[in-house]
């Protein structure tokens, strides 16, 4: 896979960098890593990180240390849909344990694993700020809240159908 932003992504990159004063382009690192992760298949390989470093004219290590510090950046390949299920206190007291067990059972994977068809990854995360709407998980850009087993089934079916139509 070639790690080069296309024209649209490059325009967005320039918009991000332009927010900061002259010479402070490193400040755009986090937003640019988000852009790179979205553009390059949901995760950041060493090559992708090197590319970001070259774009911002900073050392690769400055990018590696940031990419590994923040939980949202995946430095290993992930499935097409990542289920990031919250397991912190307020979700736990609202039943997140049973939702996690159910997802493990239905998808037959452990946390951190991806289904054989490459569609789903289960990731356990800490508080996502949706405590009043627990249990919940994040999939891509959006939150799936008030989870029940039925709702999990529907979400999985929806993504399976979406993946089938796209292929």
């Amino acid at each position: 896979m070639a790690y080069i932003f296309n024209d649209t992504q490059m325009t967005e990159f320039k918009r991000l960098v332009a927010r900061y004063p002259e010479g402070k382009q490193k400040s755009a690192l986090l937003p640019v890593l988000h852009l790179a992760q979205e553009s390059f298949g949901g995760w950041l390989s060493t090559e992708a990180l090197d590319y970001v470093a070259s774009l911002l004219s900073i050392e690769p290590i400055e990018v590696y240390e940031v990419a590994t510090f923040y939980t949202m950046f995946n430095v290993k390949p992930v499935g097409k849909y990542v289920f990031e299920v919250c397991q912190t206190g307020p979700c736990m007291i609202s039943g997140s344990d049973s939702i996690i067990d159910y997802i493990k059972h239905v998808l037959d994977i452990k946390p951190g694993e991806t289904t054989k068809d490459g569609l789903f990854t289960l990731k356990l995360v800490e508080c996502l700020g949706a405590c009043g709407y627990a249990p919940m998980m994040q999939v891509g850009k959006f939150y799936k809240e008030h989870l029940t087993k039925e709702k999990v089934d529907a979400i999985i079916a929806e993504y399976r159908a979406e993946a089938a139509t796209k292929n």
């Binding site: 988000h34 510090f69 923040y70 939980t71 307020p90 800490e126 508080c127 994040q138």
Partner: protein
Amino acid sequence: MPLLLNIEQKQQQKIKEVVKYITMGVKLLLDKANVPGIRSYEVYRREGGYRSVEKALKEMNPEAIVEEVKKSGLRGRGGAGFPTGMKWSFIAKPEGVPRHLVCNADESEPGTFKDRYLMEFLPHLLIEGLIISSFALGSNDTYIYIRGEYAWIPDILEEAINEAKANGWLGKNILGTGFDCNIHVQRGGGAYICGEETALIESLEGKRGNPRIKPPFPAIQGLWMRPTVVNNVETLAAIVPIINIGGEAYAKIGVGKSTGTKLISACGNINKPGVYEIDMTISVEEFIYSDEYCGGIKGGKKLKACIPGGSSVPILPANLLLKTAKGETRYMNYESLSDGGFATGSMLGSGGFIVLDEDQCIVKNTLTLARFYRHESCGQCSPCREGTGWMEKILQKIEQGKGTIADIDLLWDIQRKIEGNTICPLGDAASWPVAAAIRHFRDEFEWHVNNPELSQTSNFGLQHYADPIHVPA
């Protein structure tokens, strides 16, 4: 089961008695939240939006705005409760050095989701507050640092910024005053620590979120070593009503040093989780049991405990939550919630109100919080990096029925050695929940140790923590 029915009826009756004294509090932030289309500029403006910008930029100077905020008694809504006006007055003004206002939207304290609500449903309220605050502080480039997981909210905020810009509230020479201001939205990468202001600044500079040693404080050397003020979303939104009604009128709402209104995000085992605006004169009991707010405990169960201000603040058993140690009614404000210090009180904190019912296990709850802090420790200071890991491991052991009494003492010892020994408050935030859990629920920990098998299949329950007010007679 006539007896049971009788108890339930009695309980309902008691709850009804509580409901009677509801007084609908003043709403300053969410008063327009239910107006259809309030997210759009047209509707927001029609409802009186941006009036405060006109007033502040045309009729007031920056010093007068800072004075007004000081008069209002507004305290930082992010959790620490530091007076905002005073924070603003600290900003250094060296000649020729740009200053910055940074909005802390990295809401990550477990139990807290109020800023998300404000940004999602009332984006223009935040933008309006940001314009006035930027003017007061002399910030031409203002940044909103939003937690990365709120991935859909930057779009909402950027749309609001563009609308404001198109209508002359942002950009160059705003309202002909010569003041220029742009607001930029930056997403974080998923790190609780970036809610700490110096870690946030580091992150905004494209680095790991390692908190800086203070001093120098951000007001002197912050973002790019320039004078910077970092304020929470709710704090900045509150600037709007302060300018509209005046600092003195704002200070009259509430009680004592808890002025104005506070957003409380209520969650856990309650009937109506959500974001509520309170004027800090209502009692904790009313907040939990009245239909206007939490609507009581879910499933008619009993209240066991509550973490009233975000996961970092001490957990309180029901009896100490509803009444202070002196037997006085406890209210939803800074002073009353902290009455008794950490021995018998807690804190209002960020307003993340987590309610636990009789079926919840304190050990398990403390374990998930300890795991959270271990995960979120930046690793810079040894007491926090190592201590949070040990606390999680020991709690795991106790929770699984493999602990000893000595483990409970060890846990106490570790938390004591973390507190106050780290660069930033994450160390304190990690130790307080563990300390409070042992302080108030030590017998539940001991029960886990003494009943290794039973504790795996059943719960300690309420025992003597029974809710003193709502226990059916």
